[in-house]
Symmetry: C2
Subunit: 351 residues, 2 copies
């Protein structure tokens, strides 16, 4: 089913059919009607590949995310997509699953589709990829990772500030033994978040001790990390999580072990996803404006106007502390050995 068929049936040329389908207002309305009728009768759907090929440019944006399952990514995706749709753009998404190999193949795919722009909301990276991306003409916006270069914008959240707010708050509550739960992508010594945690802890509260564990990004990963943490002989009074999603997993494990939050241990998240309000106890966290991020990314993806000059810029976003129920005063004494007993006591009290 192609243009020719429609043209034939309507008794016009393919050029005219094309005009009708593209709303070029030069067509006589009677002709237009005839074409539309023919197209309808044939149940015709234009071949978008042929169209893109002929046009030479696309109105499709590519979106790469590390983990769509994490509502944080989903929210950005949704905002981005809705901004795109509002301006007549389509989007295609790809989940990289934190695997840089998957990232590479997804990028290849999108370049192959000749997307008009590429949003990389990912934590993983690949050296060669940067090169390839750099050479390609397509506008790119990175979230969080990526060195700003020519025609590559970078949107990032000021984690340092967010971390400070959380640690500061916890410190004011008397916490002196804090643990950080991250996922594998925040594990490496390069990771800003990991470093930030350590530095913040160190500078903020000289007497404070820090510990780091990691799991996969997700409910189960958070739980697993918490399990490890509790099994170690580091007994934190507070657990700072790299994001809310994992924090919910942590919460679950603590509850499982009969540890009360925030009475026994305080827990914090990051992102302020919807779920943070709906879990129990509701999470104290730091708000990251996903909606705004999505829009900002979209705007910086367009080949638009004068924004072009400020391309290669870096956009910093300031997170805000949101206090809910998962944080409280640190317990007076925090000795070792208490772990198991506390756990048992809590459990029997609960059931």
């Amino acid at each position: 089913m192609n243009l020719d068929a429609v043209a034939k049936r309507a008794g016009v040329s393919t050029a005219t059919v094309s005009r009708v389908l593209n709303d070029l207002k030069v067509v006589r309305s009677s002709t237009r009607a005839r074409v539309l009728k023919a197209a309808g009768e044939l149940n015709y759907h234009p071949n978008l590949h042929a169209r893109s090929l002929a046009r030479g440019k696309s109105r499709t944006l590519g979106i790469l995310v590390s983990n769509m399952e994490n509502p944080f990514f989903f929210d950005i995706y949704r905002a981005l997509e809705s901004a795109a749709h509002a301006r007549g753009y389509e989007v295609v998404v790809a989940n990289t699953d934190y695997r840089s190999e998957q990232l590479v193949s997804s990028v290849r795919l999108m370049i192959g589709w000749r997307v008009a722009g590429l949003a990389a909301i990912v934590s993983e990276m690949d050296a060669n990829l940067m090169q390839a991306l750099n050479d390609s003409r397509i506008p790119i916006v990175f979230y969080d990772v990526g060195t700003p270069r020519k025609n590559i914008t970078n949107v990032r959240v000021d984690y340092r500030k967010g971390m400070k707010k959380i640690a500061g708050y916890l410190h004011s509550l008397g916490h002196t033994r804090m643990a950080f739960v991250g996922h594998h992508s925040t594990l490496g010594p390069i990771s800003e978040r990991r470093k930030t945690f350590l530095e913040t802890i160190a500078r903020f509260t000289p007497g404070t001790e820090g510990q780091i564990v990691a799991g996969a990004d997700g409910l189960e990963g958070g739980r697993q990390a918490a399990r490890e943490l509790l099994a170690s002989n580091f007994h934190p009074t507070a657990i700072l999580c790299v994001n809310d999603f994992m924090a919910v997993g942590v919460l679950r494990e603590l509850r499982d072990q009969g540890i009360r939050v925030p009475n026994d241990i305080s827990v914090t998240g990051f992102d302020n996803i919807k779920l943070a309000e709906f879990c129990s106890p509701a999470l104290t966290t730091v708000h990251i404006p996903r909606e705004q991020i999505g829009q900002t990314i979209f705007e910086n993806l367009l080949p638009d106007s004068k924004r072009d000059q400020m391309s290669g810029r870096e956009i910093l976003i300031d997170p805000e502390l949101v206090v809910r129920e998962s944080t409280g005063l640190a317990r007076k004494t925090q000795n070792s050995a208490g772990g198991k007993e506390k756990s048992l006591a809590g459990r029997s009290a609960n059931s």
Copy 2:
């Protein structure tokens, strides 16, 4: 950057370049190397539109889901995608947001892309759409909705059975006043789930009363529905939710109002998403094997082998009851007026 450029640089014809890029083993390896080198130096990426156009067939599958935010849909999508990747297929997803208008435009898009198959994991429907889809040659698999026709397979869950299991279990616990929380797509009188609830309640427990409320599919929608329900003068001893995602919202509202689960009211979900284990209390629900569904859908999307004959089939999936912490014995007496007081009592006891 096109084939010609690569061909020129490698001193061969475009045909040869094409052969190399497509792994046709007829090319002399020295030639092959030269081509690869040229392609690499030029940072060449084949134009996939041109490719699809020339090939006339695609290895891309389209996936339509109503609400990617709901982990239920996400899980199916993930399973489907991973099955597809394993067999060398790409996928493109579209979120319809339960809006049939969005469904229609997404379908149009995918037909335009000439996808090799289309998976519709959606609750909404559109009359004309069915027609258009029917006329198109592309293989389609519907989940849950859609009348099985030629080359259209239908995968569906036996909700009736699932509902029976839940209602039966609740009944055995002594519940006689049950409410159903659905989302707008399960609201209409056509909806199987709504009907099923009513019928099951009626048949199962003649003395039982049922009530129905609805919100948007999601955490907030569940909470909203619960709020309405509690404000009404129907005082349920159990709340059955159309899915786990909304159930978590319901849980939140109950907790907010100081109503204990399952002591005061029992709550059940549906789907058995991961979150159902991680919320508090953990949800009693019915398991739907998303992994298996995703795979099944993929298999039925392929133009493969003899499966073709059994196309137009309907595949029924049997859900299993999963009992966790959100359900318990019904309270002895269930009079009205108790709502507010109970709420206050619960609240003070909690804090």
